[in-house]
Symmetry: C2
Subunit: 329 residues, 2 copies
């Protein structure tokens, strides 16, 4: 239940384009491998993209590629998830600091060690998110059995190095013996809901698959007690970019008094981005939508405004979405 | 561009389960054929379901089946679209009135004639809806070129006997030389957006296909000037049941000041149904959602509350959704 691991100077990932039909691993041996894996979504989910990019820097340095080239290559893979840039900035800072004093070999080792630290910290942050989210779910569990949760896309362990973000509190609740049931939305066009259903089935968490369109009706019918989603980039004011369709669920949650939570490590908060209007929204290939004759638009993310968000579940606790300064590093 | 036609004592329909890949016709010769066509969605769309049911009564009587049996069989095919019951009630009223005086042959002819009238009236009502909707679009066209419209599911000529409901104003605008562009949403799980894209392509109306999840982002980005959808049942208070996912679009439209219109003939208004909570929501087979291992829920409709609706475009003009009594027959 870990998505990425080192393997003798290379990195092994679980190929998420082949899940859930097939559990296949891919070995990333070069910078190009890492960039490709991010671009074609063999790895996906903002935290995992960040960790993969960090390892990509180590792979590129081992090939003798210039750091600037490495950073530019990986930075251009996908535009919305800020963890990518966060990880690259962190690698750059550490490596630049060291470059004056150290020889190439030491620098390469430093890159591996920093990438490893990023991966370990992500897993630890998500474990903490699980516990802080559990504290939200416990009082709900006293009123409702099971607690009816809804999520969107996949923000489980597959989207991170380990544990997941939005699913971490759900796994923690399951472990703590709380009765939960999860509405899993398909998440067109890439159907990441299948990944979430696969994860939940593996963990024995009761769940029901729905098309994205059904979310509003279920909330109107009182069948949803809380929504928890992940995030690809949270602006400084709390506006949150996540997989396209998230915003529609947030609107429906607001209309029916259902609390809408975002679960994300602090590395997903872009303190340099003032608000949602400044978050770049990736437009992916029309072919993903799957119509031949007709033109298609395929924005991969949307922005949920801060006023629809009940709280951000971070590794440092649940914070109000309009008070992110309190967790600024 | 007509979905249903008489053919020598039988009825011929366009098989909508095979569109847009294949244009195939199905001959309905018996009551069972008609009930099957409605149930498996060879015909779909509330007005067309109504017309098909009316012809189904004529087919059943020609077989010598008891009227009560015919009405019960057709009435049980699909629960949400009220046009089904409206058409059956109308057939029953006309036939019961006549039954005392007329012989079986005359009664059968009366059934054909009334079914024919229902079909003709639907086509005429939708043509009028097109003109009344055009009156809404004209002022928009003076401000924006093209007018950006969004629809959901298919409420074109395929969903009716002819002309369509939600698409009727769009066709009328195209004919009147207004520049329009339509965002066509996929409409999972049955993908009726493909039918809408096919219709619009045939008519030369510019359009772009999107996944259902993208609707909120497009409205936030100011790329939608109005939403027009059809309806399966409008309660007396204006709450409107339509294809699942409609409600999410209505919420997003409200959030961004985009007018949200429902286009429907008066036969879609259920004056006996007080509000949306009393509209039965069809739950269809989980297999339609297309996941094997995991449980799935598949509600086919949702309810858009009256306060989200800018107006109902009927054959008698555009009426406020909270003032339906003004068009009560």
């Amino acid at each position: 239940m870990q998505t990425i691991a080192e393997d003798d100077g290379a990195v092994v990932i679980l190929d998420q384009t082949r899940l859930p039909q097939e559990t296949a691993f891919v070995r990333l041996a070069t910078l190009a491998d890492a960039a490709h894996a991010i671009r074609v979504m063999q790895v996906r989910g903002a935290p995992l993209i960040g960790a993969t990019a960090a390892y990509g820097v180590a792979l590129g340095l081992a090939e003798g590629i210039l750091l600037e080239t490495i950073l530019a290559t990986l930075g251009a893979t996908r535009p919305t998830a800020v963890n990518l840039h966060w990880a690259l900035d962190r690698m750059e800072r550490v490596l630049q600091k060291s470059s004056l004093a150290s020889v190439a070999k030491e620098r390469r080792e430093l890159a591996w060690s920093e990438a490893r630290a990023i991966a370990h910290e992500d897993a630890a942050a998500n474990a903490a998110i699980g516990q802080h989210g559990l504290a939200i779910l416990r009082p709900l569990a006293e009123q409702k059995k099971p607690i009816q949760l809804m999520t969107h896309c996949n923000a489980g362990w597959l989207a991170t190095v380990a544990h997941g973000t939005a699913l971490a509190p759900i796994y923690a609740a399951q472990t703590a013996g709380l009765a939960v049931h999860v509405w899993v939305s398909e998440t067109r066009p890439r159907n990441q809901g299948l990944l979430t259903a696969w994860e939940l089935a593996q963990a024995g968490v009761p769940h029901t698959f729905i098309v994205d369109n059904a979310a509003g009706l279920l909330m109107m019918q009182g069948k949803v007690d809380a929504v928890i989603v992940g995030a690809d980039r949270i602006a400084a004011n709390g506006d949150t970019a996540n997989k396209v369709g998230t915003y529609l669920k947030a609107l429906a949650a607001k209309a029916h008094g259902v609390p809408f939570y975002v679960a994300a490590p602090i590395s997903t908060i872009d303190f340099a981005c003032p608000d949602g209007a400044h978050i770049p929204i990736e437009e992916r290939a029309a072919e993903e939508v799957g119509v031949g004759a007709t033109a298609a638009a395929n924005p991969a993310f949307d922005v949920t405004p801060v006023n629809l968000i009940a709280g951000i579940i971070t590794e440092r606790g649940v914070v109000a979405a309009d008070n992110l300064a309190s967790v600024m590093p």
